[in-house]
């Protein structure tokens, strides 16, 4: 129980020490990759059918741009069935379906056709399109999607993706600079 100024100072000091220690432990352990895997999607709720992106909303800054988080909450994180032929769609706002309801996106429309591969597997399309024309952004998503055993990647790209201007893709590229450096080193 705090009754005197001494008690109050002591509490403030202990709080400060705890705050510093907690931050140092967090920095040393870096649990972000593990934390990024924590998601309600694919467990409580169905997986996302496209990456989270809030166009024009005031809380745009709260968009999830951590690649681990994006993929963990995406439908693609569900286990791949043996009879599944997994196709990943990469591209800009057209592939994402900006302004369209989820059922009208390219991937959703292709999935309604219930296509099958020549060997009889069900072809399932996954939308990993993200608004913004950017090679860097597309490469980040392609590289990450490789962890989810795609059988085919369809990359929708035009010359518009080559300029350095990032547009909508700015935050996702800037917040995954380590992954981008890895890709760039690999390409050299």
């Amino acid at each position: 129980m705090i009754r005197t100024r001494h008690d109050l100072t002591s509490l403030a000091l202990r709080t400060l020490i705890f705050f510093i220690a907690a931050n140092m432990i967090f920095a040393a352990v870096d649990p972000m990759p593990q934390i990024a895997q924590l998601t309600l999607y694919n467990h409580i709720f169905p997986g996302r059918i496209r990456p989270p992106f809030h166009f024009g909303f005031r809380n745009q800054k709260t968009d999830i741009t951590n690649l681990d988080m994006i993929f963990a909450s995406h439908k693609i994180a569900q286990p791949k069935h043996e009879d599944e032929f997994r196709v990943v769609l990469i591209g800009d706002s057209q592939v994402y379906g900006l302004g369209l309801p989820a059922k009208d996106t390219l991937a959703a429309q292709l999935n309604t056709d219930a296509l099958r591969s020549p060997d009889g597997r069900r072809i399932i399309f996954y939308s990993l399109g993200y608004p913004g024309q950017s090679l860097k952004k597309d490469l980040l998503l392609i590289e990450k999607s490789m962890q989810y055993e795609p059988d085919m990647i369809l990359w929708f790209i035009t010359l518009g993706s080559f300029p350095a201007h990032l547009g909508f893709a700015q935050s996702i590229v800037n917040n995954n600079s380590n992954a981008l450096q890895r890709i760039q080193q690999f390409s050299i």
Partner: protein, 465 residues
């Protein structure tokens, strides 16, 4: 009615710098009015952001004018302070509106401002009781007016229709939010009822305004009784560390509940957006439990912060929650959940209604059913005039009635002997489990905007269809 003693608007007391209490009370008066304007949620137009707090102030001043004894005339310093704050916020909030307006508009607006200030002055200085001899009738009419206004404000559909007819406020009524009016209206109704029963102490204008729009309790209560609040306000206050620290601890606990627990749970709690998509079975139970906990931590967190902030200032607000989810039955739950509201409703609605019904010599079951169901329906509609809140109110009203009947039956035939503590404890645990689940299922009606969506969630919960 007692005569005024201290804490009237006292510049002279401040000048003496001898009274912490006077300084605190003056600060609370100014802070509470300023908070009314500063915390008003932003609507689409700056004028409505300014007019709604003005309306709150006007209603408060008018109520005070009705209630105060003729001799208890507010000081000009009190009235002046209100006008200065009002003008200050008028300049800040209306400046963007007047930038490109004509001189005629500005002159008209200035004239309107002067008239408003004069109106506040007159309203505050005259005593309507002198004019109105039939005080009880006037008090009754004021209560009816406040209740009508409260229901009007809570009925978004009606507001939309009115705004469409009048062609005003386009786009604002969907998110119409009049800061703290639910609580302010209840405080005002309480003072009017207390006054008619002769229980209301004489209050200076600053005391009355501070009570009605008390900044820490403005957004989410608790609803304090005027008598107790004023006694705290008038008691000598000395700044002391233990009280201040206890208040700060309460604020910290409240922040933890609200910003860590509630806001985290909100990500998975039942919501109109996630309800149609959540997987059936256990996942739906998870989101329902999450909502039950989220709404508790959110509301209890706000209450803790309000109680803590008030305690730092030497005011003891009533407790609002007492481990409601551990209540062994629904009646106990409503003694522990939003206690200040249920006590208010009990004092001003349930008890008078039950007494009136008893005089008609109805059977006890009919009296209890009528009183409990209508009380809970009222509490439901207080949250908003819509079908989902009405059904939620009925859910709890029927639950309370059923518990009451079960209690009568069990007392006669299933009474557990006092010495069998283990059995009593088991009965309490089972009771708490059943009560928690009944309340959680009730939240399904509360959380979703229409009963059809709630029924969909019920089907998912029980794996039907």
């Amino acid at each position: 009615m007692s005569t005024l003693t201290s804490s009237q608007w006292p510049w002279t007391h401040i000048a003496c710098a001898s009274s912490h209490t006077a300084l605190r009370n003056s600060g609370l008066f100014v802070l509470s009015i300023a908070a009314l304007f500063a915390l008003q949620p932003k609507l689409s137009g700056n004028i409505s952001n300014f007019l709604l707090p003005c309306a709150t102030l006007f209603i408060t001043l008018a109520t005070h004018a009705i209630l105060r004894p003729p001799a208890n005339v507010p000081r000009w310093s009190e009235v002046g302070t209100i006008i200065v704050i009002l003008l200050l916020f008028a300049v800040v909030q209306l400046a963007p509106e007047i930038r490109n307006r004509s001189w005629i508009f500005l002159i008209a607006m200035s004239a309107g401002g002067i008239l408003t200030c004069a109106g506040i002055g007159v309203c505050a200085r005259i005593s309507l009781r002198r004019i109105l001899e039939r005080r009880k009738v006037f008090i009754g009419a004021s209560i009816a007016l406040l209740i009508t206004l409260l229901f009007l404000v809570k009925d978004t559909a009606l507001l939309q229709r009115i705004s469409a007819i009048l062609g005003i406020g386009a786009g604002t009524v969907n998110n119409f939010s009049w800061l703290g009016f639910s609580y302010i209206a209840f405080r005002l109704i309480g003072t009017l009822r207390d006054a008619s029963a002769g229980r209301l102490p004489a209050m200076s204008l600053s005391e009355f305004v501070t009570y009605v729009v008390f900044a820490p309790a403005l957004i989410a209560g608790p609803i304090e009784r005027a008598e107790r609040f004023v006694s705290d306000l008038r008691a000598t206050w000395v700044v002391n560390i233990p009280d201040f620290v206890a208040g700060m601890q309460r604020i910290a606990i409240g922040s933890l509940k609200k910003f860590i627990f509630a806001d985290t749970l909100a990500m998975m709690a039942l919501h109109p957006i996630n309800a149609p998509h959540v997987h059936a079975g256990i996942p739906t139970w998870v989101v329902a439990y999450a909502y039950a906990l989220q709404i508790f931590f959110d509301f209890a967190g706000y209450s803790d912060m309000a109680i803590g902030a008030a305690r730092c200032l030497g005011i003891r607000l009533p407790e609002n929650f007492a481990n409601p989810y551990f209540a062994p039955n629904l009646t106990q739950f409503w003694h522990r959940w939003h206690m200040s509201l249920t006590q208010w409703i009990r004092a001003y609605y349930f008890n008078p209604l039950a007494r009136a019904l008893r005089r008609r010599e109805l059977s006890p079951a009919v009296i209890i059913a009528t009183a409990q169901v209508s009380t809970m329906l009222l509490i439901g509609l207080w949250h908003g005039v819509s079908m989902n809140f009405a059904v939620w109110g009925l859910w709890h009203g029927i639950g309370l009635f059923l518990h009451n009947r079960w209690n009568e039956f069990a007392r006669r035939r299933l009474a557990i002997p006092e010495e069998r503590l283990g059995l009593q404890r088991t009965a309490n645990i089972v009771g708490a489990f059943v009560t928690f689940h009944y309340v959680t299922l009730g939240w399904v009606w509360f959380a979703l905007p229409n009963p059809s969506m709630s029924l969909l969630v019920f089907r998912k919960l029980f794996g039907i269809g």
